[in-house]
Subunit: 358 residues, 2 copies
């Protein structure tokens, strides 16, 4: 069997690394070659969308916005897993939010707006709100915070927005699950996520579930989902609300690469290839620190790995400010020790000037 | 940094899969392309030994008998890790045994013999003995059992032999350790190994140490070893004697791919690249079943993976009788459960006719 992956970034890279053991071939399609090209059996670029899809038995994606043409073709040929429905919802934030509201999932209140003026006007209702462009946003881009108690005038680019009530939360969290074609679901432990300037900086697990597992399970069922699904939450006083979902492996699930009975990557390939899912078992408290905008060198590599229980994933991408270039996996005997180690690794990577890299 | 690997078989395949995360490039040399070619950054064939070595910063091997020329060149350019000494001892069983005897390691009594006639004559001293060709044997090939109590006449090919007293043992075991350039050593848990027709069939861990860790450590120090070293033992009444060692990652260490804080493969790359070693931590009883001479198909893959806690490594080689084609990793909550699962997986793979495959 040959599995096609749309996108050749780090998620595809780890997907292939973590499931080549299963004996499948992997083909990759991307606009320009990324980390996974070197370990793919075949690589396809723009113009060869049809060849790519035709050469594969199933097609999945590491990122839902790589090639509309390839997605459509894979869908037409009935090879796309997870299906087009979850992708379609992710094409437009308004569609996603409306779907969540109609499904009675707990979400932040929101209003649609089709211009900057309308967005700002509607945001007054919430006082503090966040204006999210309906398309194109990623890692905090295309999002603007507005607090009418602090300023009486804001300027945002003219676009369509989801105007969302700003949620006060204690922490962000995520839950990753896998669902197979029979509807069987298995969940990884929830993770607590810390962002810096809108980009995931650290993530750690286990964390209290607060019902997130059930919400994510219901979402996967509603989507008749197949594969790994990530659901992001805000948690306030032990009550989670859904921020958004990602129909794919997710940065906040990288902790599953170390100290876990199966990684999200192998689990995804198992789910889409029709293989039995493995019951995720967390052997030890586990977390990650993302390496953002920071070049790697031998000295840094050694320093990071000198913290006991760390493993390094370096994606081999061109360094650029605010770009995810790698991550560090960390395991520890206790949650407290894990947090200490996460702090130590963060200091090793960023020192005192983290903003220089973001 | 670019790491060269001599040999493109499954050991090299897993070495690359398990350490690409570290951010190194990998080049492979082999007589003919094997499983690791598809995930190597560069592949070199016969005639390009010098180009291969020149293109790498360090050179290691997945098998010590791939190319004498490449080994020599890598040694000359001071790139070979582990060093030539351990390879040299493995070129000739007599040299290896003599080294072990001189180092006062516990071994089976033996005699050198330079012809079939001399070997058979000398074997009479032991009654039950095993005649091992000094060169070329692997996976039980080139070895002949002789029991003068059972027969008064044997025929073996004319060759040089190590004539070894046949050791009565309760079980075979192995211990895998890593040693870095500073002399720091970390050991994996010992494994108990079960062979079938001279080929490793199953392996499971943890097992009682019986002093094997100390013996292996002393051996690594004697060799001023750098990298992962595997030492095979016979254990009788809790007393281990050294059977042989392998200056590389080893089939009996594949259990480290699942349920362990680090695999032998990443550990080896860390050791040779000068990175800090990770403390091996066994999260759960863990073992493997080798897939020998048995073709893979979707049905078999699913059946194997339906045993909870199994992961499959399929090497993608041409199936051939008695050939190692893959293995299954198994974890369990208890040693007893592990043995049951190993039995179940063995049955799924071989049914009642295991000898058909060996």
């Amino acid at each position: 069997m040959r599995i096609g992956i749309l996108g050749s970034g780090q998620l595809g890279f780890m997907m292939i690394l973590e499931s080549r053991n299963l004996g499948y071939e992997f083909a990759t399609f991307d606009i320009q070659p990324g980390p996974s090209r070197a370990i793919s059996d075949a690589y396809f670029g723009p113009g060869s969308e049809k060849d790519f899809v035709d050469s594969c038995d199933i097609v999945t994606f590491e990122f839902e916005h790589v090639s509309e043409t390839a997605l459509m073709l894979a869908n037409q040929e009935e090879k796309l897993v997870p299906g087009i429905r979850s992708v379609d919802l992710k094409r437009d934030r308004l569609r996603e939010k409306t779907f969540l509201r109609e499904g009675e999932f707990p979400i932040a209140d929101f209003e649609p707006a089709y211009s900057a003026e309308e967005a700002l006007r509607k945001s007054r209702r919430f006082g503090r709100s966040i204006l999210k462009m309906t398309t194109g946003g990623y890692d905090g881009k295309g999002q603007f915070r507005v607090d009418w108690g602090k300023s009486s005038s804001y300027e945002v680019p003219d676009a369509s927005y989801v105007v969302e009530e700003l949620v006060d939360f204690d922490h962000e969290a995520s839950l990753i699950l896998a669902r197979d074609s029979s509807g069987k679901k298995v969940s990884f432990e929830p993770a607590i996520n810390v962002n810096h300037r809108g980009i995931l900086l650290t993530s750690s697990t286990p964390a209290k579930d607060h019902g997130m597992g059930q919400i994510a399970g219901k979402l996967a069922d509603r989507l008749d989902y197949r594969g790994v699904l990530a659901v992001e939450f805000f948690v306030k006083d032990g009550v989670p609300i859904v921020n958004e979902f990602a129909p794919r492996v997710h940065n906040s699930g990288h902790h599953t690469l170390h100290g876990s009975s199966v990684s999200q990557f192998e689990q995804h390939i198992r789910a889409i290839a029709g293989l039995p899912l493995i019951k995720p078992k967390l052997f030890q408290p586990s977390g990650i620190v993302n390496i953002i905008g920071r070049e790697m060198n031998d000295h840094l590599r050694r320093k990071i790995l000198s913290v006991e229980g760390t493993r390094l994933y370096w994606y081999g991408k061109e360094p650029r400010r605010a770009r995810k270039l790698g991550h560090v996996n960390i395991i520890a005997d206790t949650g407290e020790e894990l947090e200490k180690k996460i702090g130590a690794v963060k200091d090793i990577i960023y020192g005192k000037n983290i903003d220089d890299y973001f």
